[in-house]
């Protein structure tokens, strides 16, 4: 069972603690993505799993063995680095063979393994080339090839796509996913890009400030964010978050903000909650535009239209605060300039507590 368990993992530099007790279980063959803003501790956590950083507290288990004090070379993990770490004085074949030569495998085995992996990655024609003569995408593939050829228990990826341009990134993303399907090796992937996280992960671990905010499948996190941080992190453009106060409305609670009112879903926490401060979360794609005030609509001023082709982003001003709406352009281009408000179905609204940011209970959605 090549699972990875983190129990209360802590990292401290002297008196400063940067990772505060991570608990995570990665199942065999699972592709887990650690995602979060810069400085959230995701790379540090990955490096602790690799053995490149000492673990200050807690326990790390790989394949049922406790690995805290084990040297990286004995952990049977392979890592793909952000800058690929290809040996400039070796060609592609030797780069990929490096780990196997270290372990004194037979020449025949090494050659066969390198050939096979080169085939998988489409590198057969480049085996004699040096890294300096390769494109960014090719170098990335060599870095992955070097990891794959070792058949480790766990793959670790440290932001491998950050140095590639957007188009290449999309392409490589799909390749990584395909590779994982084919090879089925437990993988832990670190990125700050939530699109990569959403597309690649079996499960996402959202981290912030050295802590785990939420763990779940991409859709789970998207549909049911546990707090306003996760809600704002996944999804592009990010979820609009508006501070509001609950005002009456009998069984259907209403949020008041900037002199406007909006109907909210009937949650337990909102019953008899007059005066409670909340954060109202509305995803840009869930808001429907209107060109004149309707029953239940919210008025806002159109600031700027960004056309993306089949879609457009409308940057609105909601009483001075920004609010983004995403809408189709098909047949609507002429009307976009006249948009002055939106409606949204109450079921699609997320409500968070204003103080803690925690999502109110009862909002679980499945689709």
């Amino acid at each position: 069972m090549s699972g990875v368990q983190l129990n209360g993992i802590i990292k401290a530099y002297g008196a400063v603690q940067v990772v505060h007790g991570i608990d995570l279980e990665v199942n065999e063959k699972e592709f887990v993505v650690l995602v979060g803003p810069s400085g959230c501790g995701k790379s540090t956590t990955l490096r602790m799993i690799a053995g490149l950083e000492e673990i200050s507290g807690g326990e790390l288990t790989i394949d049922e063995r406790v690995m805290n004090r084990v040297s990286p070379k004995d952990r049977d993990v392979a890592m793909v680095f952000q800058n690929y770490a290809l040996y400039p004085h070796l060609n592609v074949a030797d780069n990929m063979a490096f780990g196997l030569r270290i372990r004194k495998e037979s020449k025949a085995d090494i050659d066969a393994a390198v050939k096979e992996v080169a085939g998988i990655l489409g590198l057969e024609d480049y085996l004699e080339r040096r890294p300096a003569d390769l494109s960014g995408g090719q170098r990335q593939r060599v870095a992955m090839g070097r990891a794959i050829v070792r058949r480790p228990k766990v793959f670790l990826f440290d932001e491998p796509l950050s140095n590639l341009d957007a188009k290449l990134r999309t392409q490589m993303r799909a390749e990584i996913k395909r590779l994982h399907k084919r090879l089925g090796v437990t993988s832990i992937y670190v990125t700050h890009d939530q699109v990569e996280a959403m597309t690649l992960a079996d499960r996402i671990v959202v981290m912030n400030d050295g802590r785990i905010e939420q763990v779940g499948t991409p859709m789970e996190l998207f549909l049911n964010p546990a707090n306003s941080f996760v809600a704002g992190f996944l999804g592009a453009p990010p979820m609009n978050q508006v501070k509001a106060v609950i005002t009456g409305g009998d069984t259907s609670p209403v949020a008041s903000f900037k002199g406007q009112k909006l109907k909210l879903p009937a949650l337990a926490g909102l019953q008899n909650a007059e005066g409670r401060e909340v954060i109202v979360g509305i995803r840009p794609e869930y808001a429907d535009v209107v060109t004149q005030p309707e029953d239940g609509s919210v008025s806002c001023e159109l600031d700027l239209v960004e056309t993306l082709g089949s879609e457009a982003l409308l940057h609105m001003s909601l009483g001075g605060d920004p609010f983004v709406i995403r809408t189709d352009t098909l047949g609507r281009m002429a009307d976009l300039d006249a948009v002055n408000g939106f409606t949204v179905k109450p079921d699609l609204i997320k409500v968070f507590d204003a103080d803690t940011g925690v999502a109110l209970s009862g909002q679980t959605r499945v689709a």
Partner: protein
């Protein structure tokens, strides 16, 4: 990883072996200094008998008294300061503007001038022509001669030139647009930006001057002008013959060995005092003068 805690067992052993070997090498580097210092503070008879190993035997300051009583010692010490500071000052005066001019792309014949400088690193006319040249120029046996004749060398110029070349041209262009002439650009912009490189060159010059002995020995006749190292050599050369056969006649308080050791200690002291401060400069300096790929 500079943290050893995650090293495997064999790697840890490897580190310990390295530390041990380096330790041995360090001790063997230090030992001669300790030995000489010990000899200098020992009694003459103990030193001549070869009994001094690492600490003074028969502790006495007699050797130092003898050395410091000699007026020529002080004269030569003074001369060394003159050559070191005077020489370095003149060197900087010539090298800094020269390197700057050589680094400017707008200099006519730049490749030619640079080749002229670099060529001297590969071909040297030799001892005799240099010596005869000094004679012809009338620069024998003079402070000025010794200072000016060794004021410059291709290595330092090229090092500083490379450093200047690496400074983005936008600095010079901005200063020129502000109305500065070349002297001002050099003095107000490039020199402040090149402190590490200039510090390194200064260091090289000072060390070379402080330790320099060969040409001082060859070119100087007047005893009053000789630097410390030449004085030391003189003492060793002249007294040595005395000692070879007369070991048993030495006065017990000091001997040839203790006296020469004392002079050596005296001339090392200033180096040791300034050494910690210059440490950080030559580390960077070698990297500057080092390989460009």
């Amino acid at each position: 990883m500079t943290n050893m805690n995650l090293y495997s067992r064999s790697d840890k052993i490897f580190v310990w072996i390295n530390m041990f070997l380096i330790f041995l090498f360090t001790i063997s580097t230090l030992y001669p200094f300790i030995y000489i210092a010990a000899v200098s503070f020992s009694s003459g008879s103990a030193a001549s008998a070869g009994t001094v190993v690492y600490k003074p035997i028969g502790f006495t300051l007699a050797a130092y008294e003898r050395v410091l009583a000699e007026p020529l010692f002080w004269t030569s010490y003074r001369n060394t300061f003159i050559y070191t500071f005077g020489g370095t000052f003149v060197s900087l005066l010539i090298i800094i503007p020269g390197a700057y001019a050589l680094s400017r792309p707008q200099l006519y014949g730049r490749r030619f001038w640079n080749l002229m400088v670099a060529f001297t690193m590969w071909f040297n006319a030799g001892l005799i022509p240099f010596f005869l040249n000094m004679r012809d120029l009338g620069l024998m046996d003079s402070y000025f001669g010794l200072i000016i004749a060794f004021a410059c060398n291709a290595f330092n110029i090229i090092l500083l030139r490379n450093f200047f070349e690496a400074i983005p041209s936008s600095f010079e262009e901005a200063a020129r647009m502000d109305g500065a002439n070349e002297f001002q650009v050099l003095w107000k912009v490039f020199v402040p930006l090149s402190k590490p490189a200039i510090a390194t060159i200064t260091l090289f010059c000072m060390v070379a001057r402080w330790n320099g002995f060969f040409w001082a020995m060859v070119l100087l006749r007047d005893e009053d002008k000789i630097p410390l190292q030449v004085y030391l050599r003189q003492v060793i050369a002249e007294l040595q013959d005395d000692e070879e056969f007369g070991a048993s006649l030495i006065e017990a308080t000091y001997s040839f060995e203790t006296v020469t050791a004392a002079i050596m200690v005296c001339s090392i002291i200033p180096v040791l005092i300034f050494y910690p401060f210059i440490q950080k400069y030559f580390n960077k300096g070698i990297m500057l003068g080092g390989v460009k790929e």
